[in-house]
């Protein structure tokens, strides 16, 4: 039932502006696949190419084996949830959901039953006779979702569906979308610029930048083992520190840090001695060490954020680093002006080649 989407060497340009140069991607049947990236990275453009709203200048897009390049939008058999929901303002909730089914020449009874079922699934049965202007954002979102999936499309496309909702509703809806998607097992392409949303909802994520895919991976992998510095910078926040390879032997690499003691990292690709490399340390990958060991740092700013505490520190690097500590596990909450000693969690940090800015960790692939 669920289809795979194969995108091969596709290209998109507006006039002289090439938005997508040469992009290939395979989406597995039934998975929730997210296109994640900053605005202007081409993620929505790609989604609209799959939908058929944008033309494809080169390459092919196929649902299973069927190339859809030349198939007009209305024959492609996909459902779409739009950023602004695009609920028909002239129809009630019921009519909106029924709209796609009426085109399929189904028996009236079946239409009725399927609309009723889907309204139950997305929990909007009680609003069925309301017009869209009498619905809240979350309710409109549910109508949009119901309308898209009630026709049992092969593919579901979602274009930043949660960006118009407030923070609490966003979390609630993202769980609802995830549940419903799994229940009906439909291949879904989800576009967002919100990394947290992407991590929470996706089976796999493709991080995009300037029309190219940087890495395709499951959420944990994307976060823990980013393929290049773009992914590392885009997802979460990292402190970028320039280190030098001191020696490499027996699968262990010793890296000299600009301040504080050397660090030893396992599982790195072969490196030359004295080669400069990029050491990426997330705020939570710092550890607080006993006085006199590790990197000496001074607390410049302390922000208490509830679940965790954020510090801006001066480690004598010429720039400040961000360090965070879990409130529940923090033994001591430091104040501005305090001197602390920092270590790094060497199993968690990421290291990148200075020239290519790609990962130095063995076994991490971009999967592009």
């Amino acid at each position: 039932m669920a289809v795979a989407i194969h995108i091969k060497n596709t290209k998109k340009q507006y006039e002289d502006n090439v938005v997508i140069r040469d992009l290939s991607l395979d989406i597995k049947p039934g998975e929730l696949f997210t296109l994640l990236g900053p605005s202007g990275c081409g993620k929505t453009t790609l989604l609209r190419m799959i939908a058929g709203f944008n033309s494809i200048e080169a390459g092919t897009i196929a649902f299973d084996d069927k190339v859809i390049n030349r198939i007009p939008v209305y024959k492609r058999n996909f459902g779409m949830v739009f950023q602004n929901y695009a609920i028909f303002p002239n129809m009630t909730v019921y009519r909106n959901i029924e709209y796609g089914l009426k085109n399929k020449k189904l028996p009236k009874e079946e239409i009725k039953q399927r609309v009723a079922e889907i309204m139950e699934t997305v929990q909007i049965t009680q609003y069925k006779d309301r017009y869209p202007d009498k619905l809240s954002g979350g309710q409109q979102q549910r109508v949009a979702l119901a309308r898209a999936i009630v026709v049992k499309p092969q593919v579901l496309l979602m274009d930043e569906p949660l960006s118009n909702l407030d923070a609490k509703l966003r979390i609630e809806m993202r769980e609802a979308i995830r549940d419903i998607q799994k229940k009906i097992g439909i291949t879904t392409v989800y576009v967002t610029h919100d990394q947290e949303e992407a991590l929470a909802i996706s089976d796999r994520i493709a991080v995009m930048n300037k029309g190219d895919i940087q890495q395709i991976e499951a959420p944990e992998q994307i976060y823990l083992r980013p393929y290049n510095t773009f992914v590392a910078d885009f997802i979460g926040h990292s402190n970028r520190i320039l280190g030098v390879v001191k020696e490499q032997s027996g699968g262990r690499t010793t890296v000299r840090m600009p301040s504080g003691p050397d660090i030893v990292v396992e599982n790195l690709k072969p490196l030359k001695k004295d080669e400069e490399i990029l050491v990426y340390v997330r705020p939570e990958e710092f550890t607080f060490e006993a006085e006199g060991s590790g990197i000496k740092a001074t607390v410049l700013v302390k922000r208490f954020l509830g679940k965790y505490i954020q510090y801006i520190m001066d480690c004598g690097l010429g720039y400040n680093v961000e360090v965070s500590a879990d409130t529940s596990s923090a033994e001591h909450i430091f104040s501005e002006g305090d001197t602390v000693y920092l270590g790094v969690n060497t199993r968690r940090i990421n290291l990148f080649d200075k020239q290519t800015e790609t990962t130095l960790i063995e076994g991490v692939e971009s999967n592009v």
């Binding site: 939908a51 058929g52 709203f53 033309s55 030349r70 007009p72 939008v73 209305y74 024959k75 492609r76 058999n77 996909f78 459902g79 779409m80 739009f82 950023q83 602004n84 695009a86 609920i87 028909f88 303002p89 002239n90 709209y99 796609g100 085109n103 399929k104 949009a144 309308r147 898209a148 026709v151 496309l157």
Partner: protein
């Protein structure tokens, strides 16, 4: 020009339809008119500036330009002053009975200006009721004819447009701006001049240009009340239909000059309306009570007086329609005779008005909306041409429009031929043979295509070409406010573009389209100037018949016709208010 994979779909087809339509009935006539303007009747077929030389060197013609510009300009200034002050007072201060006043004002706006001219003549003309009344006491009132009369009628009609535009703009000025000005020490007139007026100045300027264009194009008023005071539309009409035989070339030259002046004003209008201020609308202005009792009395007096003067012609005309007229003299007895006569004599005109109006409005709405879709959602070189076409009717007055269509389609495209003896006999027998209505007309030695002279079709065509652009533009602005994603949503649910348009896009636009259509309908059934050029006795409309009656001095039937027309207008307006839920007309 076409991208790879371009599909010739329904919208491409509609684009072709629109371009053919505008090409045939707008572009081609304009080109023909311009070409005519540069030929003279003595030497047709050769380029010459003879007409313009004749125009410039003849004081009578030069005078008409001056007359037109002078009366239009002064009327625009007066109408602006009255309109803006009325708008300011009614927006900011409580005036007792403002709702009734508004209805009276809107009713006056939707009555054709020449009814105003006609009523004023009946009251203040040589044999006017009020003139006679004062003559009894030996008082001679100043004459209503000529410059004064035109100015009076124009001012009292056109200030309403300015009132509407300015009121719309003032309603969008956030109250807190006013309060901010006061908190910074400006109050009274100083505040008005420094804050309130500057904020709506773009609207006032562009509104001024619009009413200038309206007055400049008006034929009925100067014709009726102008007497010796000839303005340009009257000149065009006279030159075309003069007794010594019309001179299409010379009439075209005058039209050319008129269009030129109108384009200048229109460009000014576009320039003015470009820079509008955007303001937050958190605190809309609220009408306050005037504290100073003297001020309150003056404000009321002013508003009531202006409204009364604007509404007086309508009132008088309605009253007159129930008065008996004997031997051309208005009696003091009441009667329904005028209506009976109007129905008996003018039944066909009433039928024509409705027939032409309804056909035109249906075509305008259906095609105007689809053309709007093309210009907004299918952007390409052709839709830009279409958009440009839609600007043209703003600068071409009704009289010129009539002239253009007549030049091109009175006898249509004519091809000389000789027919077979059978056919010739048949043509001789029937005089003309019509194929597909008037699309192809055979006469004894020629095949004429689109020979529409004297048909209802040519009148309907002129209505469509003149009004469709307004619908196109208003529909386009509605469409721009509708997110394209609802079209896409429909496509994703399996509907191709045509069903999507009729099931989703058009229904969403409907409220806007319907209200626009009603306003168009109101202007159509009152159309005079182009119909006057195009009608014959079988295709006369209410306004044309009325105009003839007034010209003949048959006031009874004319006022009955005018009243019938106004009743239709009022009913249409009530429908408009009902459908839009407004109590005001947003211009």
């Amino acid at each position: 020009m076409f991208k790879k994979g371009y599909r010739f779909d329904f919208w491409s087809f509609m684009t072709v339809v629109s371009l053919v339509f505008f090409g045939l009935f707008l572009i081609y006539p304009v080109i023909h008119l311009v070409m005519n303007a540069f030929q003279s009747v003595e030497n047709p077929g050769h380029l010459s500036a003879d007409n313009f030389i004749r125009f410039v060197t003849t004081p009578y013609y030069r005078g008409a330009v001056w007359n037109s510009v002078k009366v239009t300009f002064i009327a625009t200034i007066l109408a602006s002053v009255i309109g803006v002050s009325m708008a300011y007072i009614t927006t900011n201060f409580k005036i007792a009975g403002i709702k009734a006043l508004n209805i009276a004002i809107i009713m006056s706006m939707f009555s054709p200006p020449f009814i105003g001219a006609y009523s004023w003549i009946l009251m203040f003309g040589r044999a006017g009721a009020i003139t006679k009344f004062f003559a009894n006491f030996g008082i001679d009132l100043p004459p209503i004819y000529g410059f004064n009369g035109i100015l009076l009628v124009f001012t009292l009609h056109l200030f309403i447009y300015m009132y509407m535009y300015t009121k719309g703009a003032l309603k969008k000025v956030d109250k807190s701006l006013d309060e901010a000005a006061e908190s910074l020490g400006d109050h009274g007139l100083k505040k008005i001049l420094k804050i309130s007026l500057p904020l709506v100045t773009p609207t006032i300027l562009s509104g001024g240009a619009i009413i200038f264009l309206r007055a400049f194009a008006d034929y009925g008023t100067p014709r009726l009340i102008g007497e010796g005071y000839t303005t340009m539309p009257v000149l065009v009409y006279n030159e075309w239909l003069s007794e010594e035989g019309g001179d299409a070339f010379f009439a075209s030259s005058i039209a050319f000059i008129m269009i030129f002046i109108a384009i200048v004003v229109f460009l000014l209008q576009m320039y003015f309306s470009r820079k509008n201020y955007n303001m937050s609308m958190l605190n809309p202005p609220v009408a306050k009570k005037i504290k100073n009792p003297v001020g309150a009395v003056f404000a009321h007096l002013y508003v009531y007086l202006v409204t009364f003067l604007a509404f007086l012609p309508v009132l008088y005309c309605v009253m007159l329609s129930f008065r008996e007229v004997r031997h051309g003299i208005i009696q003091t007895t009441w009667t329904l005779d005028n209506y009976v006569q109007a129905w008996n004599k003018m039944g066909r005109a009433i039928g024509n008005t409705f027939k032409y109006g309804i056909i035109a409005i249906v075509v305008i709405v259906v095609f105007g909306t689809m053309f709007a879709y093309i210009t907004v959602r299918r952007k390409n070189i052709f839709s830009r041409i279409l958009d440009a076409c839609a600007q043209m009717p703003y600068v071409i007055s009704g009289t010129i429009f009539g002239l253009m269509l007549l030049i091109c389609y009175n006898t249509g495209f004519s091809f000389q031929t000789t027919f077979s003896p059978d056919m010739a006999a048949r043509i001789a027998n029937e005089r003309t043979v019509l194929i597909l209505g008037h699309v192809i007309v055979l006469t004894k030695d020629a095949v004429n295509i689109l020979a529409l002279g004297g048909t209802g079709t040519i009148i309907i065509l002129s209505y469509i070409v003149r009004r469709l652009p307004y619908t196109l533009r208003s529909s386009a602005s509605i469409l721009r406010q509708i997110s394209p994603s609802i079209d896409e949503a429909s496509a994703s649910l399996g509907y191709s573009s045509v069903p999507t348009f009729f099931k989703v896009t058009m229904p969403v636009m409907t409220p806007g389209i319907v209200s626009g259509a009603i306003l168009s309908w109101i202007t159509l059934i009152q159309e005079l100037s182009s119909t006057l050029m195009l009608y014959n006795n079988r295709t006369a409309t209410i306004t044309v018949s009325m105009f003839q009656q007034v010209s003949k001095g048959a006031y009874g039937v004319a006022s009955a016709l005018a009243t019938i027309l106004m009743v239709v207008v009022v009913l249409s307006m009530l429908l408009f208010f009902r459908l839009t839920g407004n109590t005001d007309v947003d211009m």
